[in-house]
Amino acid sequence: MSETEKKGTSRRAILGAGLAAGGAIAAGRVSAAVPDPLITQVQPWASEFGDPVDATPYGMPIRFESHVVRRNVPWLTESPISSINFTPIHALEGTITPQGCAFERHHSGAIELSKSDYRLMVNGLVDTPLVFTYEDLTRFPRHVQTFFCECAANGGMEWGGAQLQGAQFTHGMIHNMEYTGVLLRDILNEAGIKPEGKWVYVEGADASSNGRSIPLEKAMDDVMVAFFANGEALRKEHGYPVRLVVPGWEGNMWVKWLRRIAVYDRAVESREETSKYTDLMPDGRARKWTWVMDAKSVITSPSPQAPIRHGKGPLVITGLAWSGHGKIARVDVSLDGGRTWTEAQLSGDIKPKALTRFHLNIDWDGREMLLQSRAMDETGYVQPTKDQLREIRGLNSVYHNNGIQTWWVREDGEVENVEVS
């Protein structure tokens, strides 16, 4: 038995003793009338050694947080190699997503590509087609910016109704990281874009290639070629050593293991922008090039994986809001399914095209609630209801579901994913 397991056992024993002694502990919550043995008895961690500094050169979360992991839903896709998993947003706070539990979406698996094997080609309608090594990229001027990456399909399973139980599953195809890298325009400038160049085609080194076309205006604006995220190298599954960061735009375009940037006079209309990432509309035609992710929010707690166990009284409602059009201006929260709304507090820095944390502190009277959040961005766009979106788009657009989420908080504190009239 390991040292940590022994500690766990001793803590359980102490709690059990407390229950037996006083009977004053309801669901383990300590009454003020009986002395708490966790205070009155010296605990092992207050007496013995903890772990030495050389125990963990690169640490993982403490074992009590083992629920804070990526999860997948096997039936969603035909193969785990071209599939998705979900960020545990129900258990996170603030805005920065820990890389180790930030969602993955691959089309032919997470490949291993070393910095020494890495090459980036720029070709097409340029004055000089170029090849860069990883080392070359580190010599361009650097930029540091924080952005959300949201899969176009985030919430896509919910178009037809409430389906999955938990914010991780309904809203967790998203992560938010502080990127360090170089501007795509600085790389393109080295090659020199010819006047006929109107589109940039980007593709990865993996078998799927994930090629996408980006209009030159966006490419020359804020697109980054990133190699650090949240202070360290990209994780393998997030594109190590180099990925594209396309602020505010659907995650599919954030090409990982970026190997080629080509300038063309038109869009390639690749598989990932024809068969996929096009949005079927009620008349049988489909939108293409729906690049921007519109304003969206979700209450992360309470939520189905984060029930209320502490009873009535003070309750923190916390959630995330984001918009591909810029900064979040406001988030409203409703406790009654959208009949009345209260403005929540935006906590921390509000950055454009990045996750924004909101909080609303309430005094819960123990009655059931229908919780909703509604984001507004700096363009004045107000997050619509799912019904408002369906009225325009029908049920088969697959992508870009930014409709308002409802959580039914029951009197017992359990929370369900529901839709309301």
């Binding site: 803590r11 359980r12 383990g28 919550r29 629920h67 804070v68 999860r71 997948n72 839903v73 039936w75 190699i81 071209s82 032919s108 080609m121 087609p129 090849v131 361009f140 409430a162 139980q165 938990g166 325009r185 400038n189 080295e190 020199g192 006047p195 078998a207 090629g211 080629r260 080509a262 038109r266 390639v268 209309e269 690749s270 024809t274 096009t278 079927l280 049988g284 035609r285 489909a286 939108r287 293409k288 994986q305 029930p307 409203d332 229908l370 509604r374 766009y381 107000v382 619509p384 408002q388 325009i392 049920l395 088969n396 039914w408 369900e416 994913n417 529901v418 839709e419 309301v420 009239s421």
Partner: protein
């Protein structure tokens, strides 16, 4: 050409063999297609050998693997069947995607002639050419897929944003609110051993 800043002099010129190796993209107007050709019956043979174990002998799909043929006229159905024949706009995408990214797990193992042949077979499977059809670089752009005009660029700026960029209601916004759908009814979410949704935050006073 436009210059935004002085060049830094990083990188080195790409040589033609390198560009040829990596730039294998085919555009809707046929640019990027290599010399070559392939007919339906050759395509059927290659497909049987390299593709049919997932996509079926007739490109109809096996189990949950993608369906490549059929579904024409279903795009307004409750459950549309989106295939090459029913949904895809351009044949270039078929050629390009197969050549670069298929077969799944062994990509970049089909030659240009094989890709022409598979593409011809997929046209045949979708009822778009006869069984003696030969697809080549020369006649490639004569082929138009049924849904070529089925797409339009993002129009949210016209159709949605004016509707949603309005001051929202704050009080008395609607009448009685009823629950109309419950995910709990479907029971398709992965669960923890205790039956709760997987990853539910533990009750700290019940775990050690």
């Amino acid at each position: 050409s436009p210059v935004w800043a002085d060049k830094l002099g990083l990188g080195r010129p790409a040589v033609p063999e390198e560009i040829e190796a990596w730039d294998v993209v085919v555009l809707p107007d046929g640019r990027g297609l290599p010399e070559g050709s392939g007919d339906v019956s050759t395509g059927e043979e290659v497909f049987a050998e390299k593709c049919a174990m997932c996509h079926g002998d007739f490109a109809e799909g096996i189990d949950n693997w993608p369906v490549l043929a059929g579904g024409q006229g279903t795009l307004t159905d409750r459950r549309p069947v989106k295939t090459i024949g029913s949904y895809w706009p351009y044949l270039s995408t078929v050629w390009d995607y197969i050549h670069r990214s298929m077969p799944f797990g062994a990509a970049q193992t089909v030659t240009p002639d094989e890709t022409y042949a598979i593409t011809a077979f997929l046209l045949y499977s979708n009822g778009l050419v006869d069984e003696d059809f030969v697809l080549s670089k020369e006649n490639f752009t004569e082929i138009h897929l049924p849904n070529e005009n089925g797409f339009y660029p993002d129009d949210r700026a016209e159709v949605e944003y004016p509707k949603f960029r309005v001051e929202p209601c704050m009080t008395d916004c609607k009448g009685e609110v009823k629950i109309t759908k419950r995910a709990a009814d479907l029971k398709v979410t992965p669960t923890d051993p205790d039956g709760r949704p997987a990853g539910t935050i533990p009750d700290w006073f019940e775990v050690a």
